[in-house]
Symmetry: C2
C-alpha cells in the first residue's frame, strides 16, 4: 500500500521553522520540556494534585472564579463540540453570532446536534454590534447564544462586554470560543458574564494542539448536571443521574468530565497526561510573565506587524478597531502570486505565513505573532524576509522601510 | 475559589512511580523525548510527511494494508466514539459483543448515537464463543457488530479469528476496540477481516494517553464517505458531499478526518503535533523491537506475573486460555484490605497496581505488565513488593516463593 519502509524512518527531527501564521506556532521550550516528564496513574494523588493545579492555573487565564475550569482531551475544536453538545438539546434554538469561518463551524456543529439555528451576522472583516445581538436574541428567544472571540479567518475580535448580562436577562446561556485569543488578549469570562468559554494551547498560549482549556459557570454546570448519565460499567451510589435528556456524546459529556475533575474522581477517559503537563506549563509561563504584560506584548507585536506591512505599501485587511492583536491579514498585491511568496518564505527563510479560507482564499495572507512568537525580533525578521520575497516576485516597494517602521511602532506606547 | 496560589506551583516533577496497573503505564523514554521536538505548521510538507509516516508505521502495528490508517486526536475513547458515530446512523441495529466494562461502554456510546442495540454476552471473566456471535448476528440482522479485543476490566481477550468473514457474509460491518492489546498482543485487522480497529498509546505501546490510532477498511471507508459533509467555511470544488445521512459529530467525522490525512489535506482540526510525534515514536519503538518479539515479551511477563501470584498462594481471576497477556487479575484474599495493600505498594515501594470496576470492585486487583513495563525486573520487583505488603496485612504466604517462580516462568518457552 505504501512504498515507505517504516523501519527506515529516523528520529523525529523537524526543521527549525518560525511559525508566523495564524497558528499553530512554535511552542515555548519550557512547554516542550514539561511533556518529557514521566507519566502517573490517573488517580494517583500526585496526578489529581496536578489536575487541581491546572484548575487553579486556568481560572486567572480565563478571568474567572468558576470552580469548573479544566481541560477537554482533544484539540480546541473538541472543547467547542463538548460545550455545545452538553448545553444544547436537539430542538433547542441557538443564536450564532457569526462573523467568519469559526462562526460557520459553530453552525456546522449545531446542525449535527439537531439544534434550531438562528444567526446574526457580520461580513468577513467586521464584527457584530451588541445591539444587533440583543435584537436577534429578543426576536428568536434563543436558549443559547454562541460566538467566537477572535476569528482567525477574518482576524477580527468580537467585542463581548455586556454579552452575559444580555443573555442572562433573556434567560439564555452563552458560549464563547476563545481558541485564538486566550493567553494573548484578555479573556474576561466573569466580567463578560458568559457561561462557557473554551480555548486551545496552540496559539497565544504557546503550546501544542491537543488539549483544550474550558471554564463553565455554576448556572451552566447546573444545566449540564441535569443531563448527567453515568456509564453502566462505573455506576456509583454517590453520583445520581439527572432528569434531563442525556447528552448526545459520551466523550464530550461535560457532566462526566466534571465528575472526573471533581473530588468524585469518576472514571471517564484516561487523562492525556503529557498534554496536561503541557497545559499546566503554558499557564505557568503566562502567569509568570503576567497576563497584562503578555497582552501588551501581543499588542506591540500586532502594531509592529501592521506598521511594517503598511510601510511596505501593502493594505491591511479589516477594521483597525476590532482587529485581533495577534494575527494580521494583508491583501496579496495585484500581480503577485501569493503561494509563490509563501513558498519562498518557507524555503528561503524557514518562515511560515498563513493562507486564507473561503471568500478570502487567495486574497489575503495572515501573519501571526502569537505566544512565544510575539517577540520583536521575530516580527522584524518576518517583515524583512517578506520584503525580499515580494521583490523576488517583481513587486515594487519602498526598500528598507518596513523593519524600521515596525521597530518604531513596537515601542510606541 | 481555590486556596492554591498558581504562582507558587513549581516545575512539573512527578514522583518516579512504577505503573504496574491496567494502564496508563510509564512511557518509553524515547517517546517522552520525541514530544520535545518543536512544532510545525499543519500543512507544512514536513508535517504532512510525518503524517504519511505515521500511516505507514501503524499499518504493521494493526496487521493491515488498509490505506486509512491514522490517528484520532483524543484519548483511546475518542476513537471508539469516532468509529461508532461514523459507522452507525440513528436507528441502525448494532450487535455488541459484551464481556466487561468496555463492552458496556460501547453500549453507552451507541445509546447516545440512537442505535438499536442488541447484545451477546459473557459473564465477567469469560469471552463470547464465535458460534454465539454468529447466532446473534443471524437473529438480529445487525448492520454493525462491535466488540472489544482485550477488556482490562476482566483481563479477558476475546478471540476474533473469523469474525470478519462472519460479518461480511451477513452484510455487516465490524468494529474492534483494541486499546488494551495493541502493541502487546497481535492485532490482525486484515486476517480477522474486521473493518475498523482502534487503539491507544497508553498501554502496550508505551506512550501517553491522548492520541488514538485507527485503521479503516476500504468498504467501511466507502460507507463513511457516503455520509461526507464538508463544513461550509472550507467547502472545496474537489470534495463532494455524500448522499447519506450526515455524521452526528463534527470532531469525530471520520470522513473529514480521512480527507485531512489524505492528499486532499482538507482543513479540519489542527493536528495534535506533539502527540503525533509520540505516536510515531511508539510505533518506531515497537517495529524496531519487532512485533513478534514484543508479543513474546508480553507473554513472558504475563506468564511470570501469573506464576508469581500463584506461588504466593493467590488465586488468579478468569480463564487461563483467554486471559490477556499484559494484565492479570488476582483475587484479594479474605481478610486482606485491598486498598491498604495498594496504598502500601504506592507509599513504600512507589509501585501502582490496579483496583477493579463493577462486579469485581473490591474483589480483585489488576496487575499489568505492558509496553515499557513488560520487563522481567519490573515484574520481579512488583511481586517482591506485593509479598511484603501482603505480609504487612497479616496474610500468611509461603515466603520467598513468588520471585523465583516468576523467574522460572519467564524463561519457560
Amino acid at each position: 500500500m505504501s512504498e515507505l519502509d517504516p523501519l527506515l524512518f529516523g528520529e523525529i527531527d523537524p526543521p527549525q521553522r518560525l511559525l508566523m501564521g495564524p497558528g499553530p506556532i512554535n511552542a515555548h521550550p519550557r512547554v516542550l520540556r514539561a511533556m518529557s516528564a514521566d507519566l502517573l496513574g490517573q488517580f494517583d494523588p500526585e496526578m489529581t494534585g496536578f489536575m487541581n493545579q491546572v484548575m487553579a492555573l486556568y481560572r486567572p487565564v480565563f478571568g474567572t472564579e468558576n470552580k469548573w475550569t479544566m481541560l477537554v482531551d482533544g484539540t480546541a475544536r473538541s472543547a467547542i463540540e463538548a460545550s455545545l453538545v452538553s448545553l444544547v438539546t436537539p430542538g433547542d434554538t441557538v443564536l450564532v453570532v457569526n462573523f467568519g469561518r469559526f462562526g460557520l463551524l459553530l453552525i456546522e456543529i449545531l446542525q449535527r446536534i439537531g439544534a434550531k439555528i438562528e444567526t446574526v451576522e457580520a461580513p468577513w472583516g467586521e464584527t457584530v454590534p451588541m445591539e444587533a445581538i440583543a435584537e436577534a436574541l429578543a426576536r428568536t428567544g434563543a436558549k443559547v447564544v454562541a460566538t467566537v472571540h477572535g476569528d482567525t479567518s477574518t482576524t477580527m475580535a468580537q467585542p463581548l462586554e455586556g454579552l452575559g448580562e444580555l443573555c442572562r436577562a433573556a434567560g439564555a446561556y452563552s458560549y464563547v470560543d476563545a481558541t485564538a485569543t486566550i493567553g494573548g488578549m484578555e479573556i474576561a469570562a466573569d466580567r463578560w458574564g458568559v457561561d462557557v468559554v473554551t480555548g486551545g494551547l496552540q496559539k497565544c498560549l504557546g503550546g501544542p494542539s491537543g488539549s483544550a482549556p474550558i471554564t463553565i459557570s455554576d448556572r451552566a454546570a447546573e444545566l449540564i448536571f441535569s443531563r448527567r448519565h453515568v456509564e453502566k460499567g462505573i455506576v456509583r451510589d454517590d453520583i445520581a443521574d439527572g432528569q434531563g435528556p442525556r447528552i448526545g456524546s459520551n466523550y464530550f459529556d461535560l457532566a462526566m468530565i466534571m465528575d472526573y475533575w471533581s473530588e468524585k474522581r469518576l472514571n471517564h477517559h484516561t487523562e492525556a497526561t503529557s498534554m496536561l503537563y503541557a497545559a499546566r506549563e503554558c499557564a505557568r509561563v503566562a502567569l509568570g510573565e503576567g497576563l497584562q504584560t503578555r497582552f501588551t506584548r501581543h499588542a506591540e507585536a500586532g502594531r509592529a506587524m501592521t506598521a511594517g506591512l503598511r510601510a511596505m505599501g501593502l493594505t491591511v485587511f479589516g477594521a483597525d478597531a476590532t482587529r485581533m492583536t495577534n494575527v494580521t491579514g494583508v491583501y496579496i498585491p495585484d500581480g503577485v502570486d501569493g503561494e509563490a511568496v509563501r513558498t519562498a518564505m518557507r524555503t528561503q527563510f524557514e518562515i511560515e505565513i498563513g493562507t486564507a479560507f473561503g471568500p478570502l482564499a487567495g486574497r489575503i495572507w495572515r501573519l501571526g505573532a502569537m505566544g512565544y512568537n510575539a517577540q520583536k525580533h521575530k516580527v522584524l525578521i518576518t517583515l524583512g524576509a517578506l520584503e525580499v520575497c515580494l521583490r523576488m516576485q517583481g513587486f515594487a516597494l519602498p526598500l528598507g522601510e518596513a523593519v524600521p517602521a515596525a521597530m518604531q511602532a513596537w515601542d510606541a506606547a
